[in-house]
Symmetry: C2
Subunit: 122 residues, 2 copies
DNA sequence: GAATAGTTCTACACGATGTAGAAGACGGAA
DNA sequence: TTCCGTCTTCTACATCGTGTAGAACTATTC
């Protein structure tokens, strides 16, 4: 999977945090007066559209071309994306269990508990 | 942490797979007639040295300048590196537990068992 | 049909990476 | 002690991904 740049990531965050699809303009505004990370950027709408096109090419967003301001939505949830990234890292290692061991060793106690619950639920 | 390119990664793999430190020449040969991934590349030694220097700058390798052909060794184990990468991904998510849940949901059964053991050992 | 709002094309700068020659430094052989 | 071969450092360039946006084109609406 392709990695995301800073700006691409900010755009994805906006989409992920938004329940419904967004227009390029809305995303532009989100980046400008946004509350989340990567805010404060005052970009041209074309810039945002370029980024969105690239994200679309990478299958990170779906674009609805039937509405006039096109609508963009994330094609995957953030959690799914992140989990996939983690699996990708893990998959690139020959010594998977060793990696898992290290990984678990650094998880916070509360998350350890959460992990236990998750494992039990399987 | 900086991400590694293709070639950089191949070099790291050689270092990770080697018990002891390697010279630039050895790495060059490893890349050429190597068994592992990224093999078949017939590069100039200077190329390898450039890559090694960059890896050194990124603190991925340590260089021993006291021996004549300098010796290079990975500064971290692969498992540690991979685990850190995974934590990095996880840390970039606001909904950490959701990500963990997804992640665990896709781990193979044998690894689930391993995870249980690891958690119990804490 | 003209103004307006939105989209696509094209373009450029910049940094990371892959790649290596030329030039410099160093250690051993003569 | 000088020279030679080996190894390292410097410098350089191409390419690719990303950030950034103007110019030109298209569709909508009055």
């Amino acid at each position: 999977m392709a990695t995301l740049g800073e700006l691409e990531r900010s755009v994805m965050d906006l989409l992920w945090d938004s329940a419904d699809a967004l227009t390029a303009g809305a995303i532009r505004d989100g980046l400008a007066h946004g509350n989340a990370a990567g805010a404060g950027k005052d970009l041209a709408v074309t810039t945002v559209l370029t980024v969105l096109s690239r994200l679309e090419a990478k299958d990170f967003v779906n674009r609805d071309r039937d509405t006039r301001p096109h609508l963009f939505r994330a094609s995957t949830s953030r959690a799914a994306h992140m989990a996939e990234l983690m699996h990708e890292v893990l998959g690139a290692a020959p010594d998977r269990e060793a990696v898992l061991a290290r990984f678990v060793g650094q998880v916070s106690p509360s998350e350890v508990a959460a992990l236990r619950r998750m494992l039990d639920g399987k």
